[in-house]
Symmetry: C2
Subunit: 586 residues, 2 copies
């Protein structure tokens, strides 16, 4: 064991105690080509353990979590099983309550009020959690290794690279912005995915006002500089436009008199309506409100190019005519894309050309082992009933008679509905009570002894799969996935022994866990002027005061600490008394 001094030191630094003897560590010397690999010998190091207890049993399995957004953080908050050691790797050492990002752009809420350091969140847990501030560069699922690079750049040592291995990997890295390859967007537009983005926007808004106040600027140029364009009519774009409108009209007009007439906010949306994922009543209300507020709403307008001073749009309603629009600041908020290293990973596991990492209903990445993906970087690839129809029939037909009796059928209904949630959605859409109603359509099952053959069965279920839909890429979905996955890990040992999931139709026994099921708790779209539109479960639509945010943070997100809530409320109080700050600061 001599000669491993380097590894020993590094290993000690890595873990509080040197149990992970199979770890491989790469020390990448700053900026250079020299890379020292030190493969740990399999011989375990002496640790103090009670005599008689096997070393192997004592060894904790290592979970690596990539990302500290909604998904990763909610996993960490809910993981309680002390039999794992966890390493979190993320370029951000904090969790951000992203629904308030648009408020940060205008200083309604301060950036630091919506963030919570991850180390704060995981401290005092009985689970051993280490955090490393680094970005993942590459996932090597075959060798169970993660290649990382520290994103710390100061007068220290250049960027450090290192390799981490895992027993379980949880990919929760979120998504990129998606420019749809529109030329000039990356270079000229702002985005609103990170806290830093919001801070940059806040600074740029003041930039524009200061710039327009310089003595040599012509009126025409002022108009251009004070034209704020928002591309994308989703909740983020709509909320930013509304926040900016309030900021300008409540605070900035007092400080920059004479510019009120010159400020213009335009919202560009390629579709026919803004907020198209919401109820039509909300869309209509928002569109009317924007018209009253003087926010210029251009639907059917597709951005095809952005230069440093102009946005080029194709008017879909107008025969595809391309027109140029001068602007001062532009926010691009149109959907999400895939991070490059996730694309590489997808190619590795045979998922090339997909938008996001496909997982099964238990959030396991398809095509590899012990890797889970949650949040915006993942999508659940719900199995189709029709793919498994033969297996389902065989499993249900316990006496191998080639036909199903209603009794046989009823015994597996629960498992079918759990394994294939689209069945329930289909029943609901057809206003049926249960699956027996569905079968009535194809066979005479009113009598208790009716029997179904496979063809009847296929016909009855043939349209069920049409009800499958992808979950939205929201924090709510991500948070629920994190909770779900943490609970699975918490009960891993128990469920290994007594599985609680549905029947394995194509295998033996039962699945260990119930599959993940999303529970929609409502969605909010703040529309400015203290008004928030809320679409709650059961299609209940409400338009009210924006303190609903607070309620939302309590009701729908256990993820927000009391610290954040108090700070946000105190920011609201500050704003109410003193207005928003317009100092030209980061």
């Amino acid at each position: 064991m001599r000669g491993f001094a380097l590894f020993d030191r590094v290993s000690k630094a890595f873990h509080d105690y040197p149990k992970a003897s199979k770890m491989l560590v790469v020390v990448a010397v700053s900026g250079g080509g020299y890379v020292a690999y030190a493969e740990a010998n399999s011989e375990p190091k002496l640790i103090s353990s009670a005599p008689g207890i096997d070393q192997g049993e004592n060894k904790k399995k290592k979970i690596v979590v990539l990302g500290t957004g909604w998904a990763g953080t909610s996993f960490l908050r809910n993981l309680k099983n002390p039999n794992y050691e966890v390493q979190v790797i993320s370029p951000r050492n904090y969790f951000a309550f992203t629904p308030l990002l648009p408020s940060v752009t205008c200083g309604t809420v301060e950036a630091r009020s919506i963030v919570e350091p991850i180390r704060n969140i995981v401290r005092k847990k009985n689970v051993d959690v280490q955090f490393s501030e680094a970005a993942c560069l590459k996932i090597d699922a075959q060798n169970k290794k993660i290649y990382c690079r520290s994103n710390l750049e100061n007068n220290l040592n250049g960027q450090e690279e290192f390799v981490v291995d895992y027993d379980y990997l949880i990919v929760a890295v979120g998504a990129n912005v998606n420019t749809f390859n529109t030329p000039g967007v990356m270079e000229n537009c702002h985005f609103l995915k990170e806290v830093e983005d919001a801070q940059k926007i806040r600074k740029t808004v003041i930039d524009c006002f200061e710039r327009a106040s310089l003595p040599t600027v012509s009126d025409e140029e002022k108009k251009r500089i004070l034209h704020f364009a928002v591309v994308g009519g989703g909740p983020t774009g709509v909320e930013f436009a509304a926040e900016l409108h309030d900021y300008v009209n409540e605070d900035l007009v007092k400080l920059y008199p004479g510019v009120k007439e010159l400020v213009k906010i335009t919202l560009l949306e390629a579709g026919d309506h803004i907020l198209n994922m919401f109820d039509k009543r909300i869309t209509a209300f928002a569109e009317e409100k924007f018209q009253r507020d003087g926010i210029d709403l251009k639907t059917g307008s597709m951005v095809v190019k952005v230069t440093d001073k102009e946005i080029f749009t194709k008017e879909l309603k107008n025969g595809g005519e391309v027109s140029a629009m001068p602007y001062g600041m532009a926010l691009w908020s149109t959907g999400i894309g895939t991070r490059p290293f996730i694309k590489d990973f997808m190619a590795q596991v045979g998922q090339a050309n997909r938008r996001a990492l496909a997982t099964d209903e238990w959030l396991r990445v398809e095509g590899c082992d012990k890797v889970y993906a949650i949040g915006d970087c993942a999508t659940i690839n719900q199995r189709k009933v029709m793919e498994d129809i033969a297996s389902i029939f065989r499993k249900a037909d316990k006496d191998n008679s080639g036909t199903l009796t209603i009794k046989e059928y009823q015994e597996v209904i629960k498992d079918i509905c759990e394994r294939y949630p689209q069945v329930e959605l289909y029943l609901k859409s057809k206003q049926m009570k249960n699956m027996v109603d569905l079968l009535k359509e194809t066979a005479d099952v009113s009598k208790g002894n009716a029997e179904l053959n496979i063809e009847h069965f296929k016909t009855a279920l043939s349209k069920v799969d049409s009800q499958m839909k992808n979950l939205p890429a929201t924090g709510q979905v991500a948070a629920q996935q994190g909770v779900y996955l943490a609970k699975c890990f918490n009960r891993m040992e128990k469920c290994e022994k007594s599985p609680e999931g549905p029947l394995r139709f194509r295998g033996e026994g039962r699945h260990r866990f119930h599959p993940f099921r999303y529970k929609h708790l409502g969605q909010f779209a703040p529309l400015g002027g203290e008004q928030t539109a809320a679409q709650l479960p059961g299609d209940w639509v409400s338009i009210g005061h924006s303190s609903q945010w607070l309620w939302y943070s309590v009701y729908a997100s256990k993820q927000v600490s009391w610290r954040n809530r108090a700070l946000v409320v105190s920011d609201w109080g500050r704003r109410f008394i003193f207005g928003r700050d317009s100092s030209h600061l980061n």
Copy 2:
């Protein structure tokens, strides 16, 4: 007047009404060589004015204020004379309460809580104030012009340059950091003069802790990264060291367990003691407290070079031996230097090789006309009594008898003391009541009819000038100068007619205004652990709770808005409840 469309437009943009007809405007096209000069024609434009009132009388004089620090802002706050139009030019659109900057470095107070937008400060005033966010590049005192460049860099137009002319110029641009040409300081050290500096330090402290927590970092390297070096034992350096110590011990050790033993804070001071401008009791208290806290205090240690990882010091006590000290983050806080464009200006007005702009006792820059300098960029060049001794004697000797009677002498005592404040300081140092006591030393003036000749007079006053000292470069001095100058402008018309200053010993009549006189209101040095040392007027020394800051802001600085006070107190409350935030944010 046709053909001046460009100028008209620009001029209109510049002023709310186009009165400043003699303005010269330079439009510098982005990044390019094309510069369009449009010299305004001297023919005034028509403005609606009551018939019979002369155009010239109606025209407001233009004051240009450079800088929005303590000096500039306090001038703006106190200017009430509506007969001036004011243009403020500063690269910062806000005033910052700099004594709290060290608290911002560790998140005890948020950056936005100690700033106030200038536009907020000047709005609702009856004085016409325009603000331009730009840096001054050059002062042309001969032609009364200021060359400026906007510091706004975004996707707009590159940096705009423009020229502003003035009737009165107030230079309040503060000072630079002073590296004393020590190699490597600019590249590797942090400074603490601006709010952005404090934000950068806050981010770097977390950088260091995150970096030291990466898996591949050796223990030795961790020690280096977590070594915080502070160069300069003045109030800023001392307070930063104390703040950092509290931050580490109260907050960071909980989040980064295991690093407590590795963190080291070193304070390097070239002199024998820290806080050498304070009372010895405070110095001793601070030195003892630092020793108890484990802050390594190295006096007699002069930094001679800084590389990216090491600080080289010359141990003055140790025969000048040079030693190297590895460090992770360094703060350089040793005195102030002169801004380059101020150096140029000093050469222009015959003040080359000085540290700061020399002014007379009325804060007028020596060697040019209608230019004032206040704050850290200026120093008052107090006239020596001995230079004027002949004139003083002549003025006092009203009957031209060649000797002064006590009566003659007493008539000018007040003016002498006002014009030459060193006289009073000298009397105080000698524990004399008045100037008659001083004369007693050289001549027999006990009898009412004693007479003094010029030689007696010279001998009596010969040591008086030794009491002259420069004012400290503090916000307090700057603020008082701003107030003083604003009051002069407020009463300009009145004092032109009936001057209220002391006799002009070398000229006729009286000076218009009383000369500026600094009133020391005490000085604070927060020492961490909620303790602040205060040295108050009358050498009263107090060491107490740091909420004295608030008291200070009320008592000594009318400059701090109630908004700032409320925000700072609320930040303290937040910190008290939730601790300091350690999210890696700007």
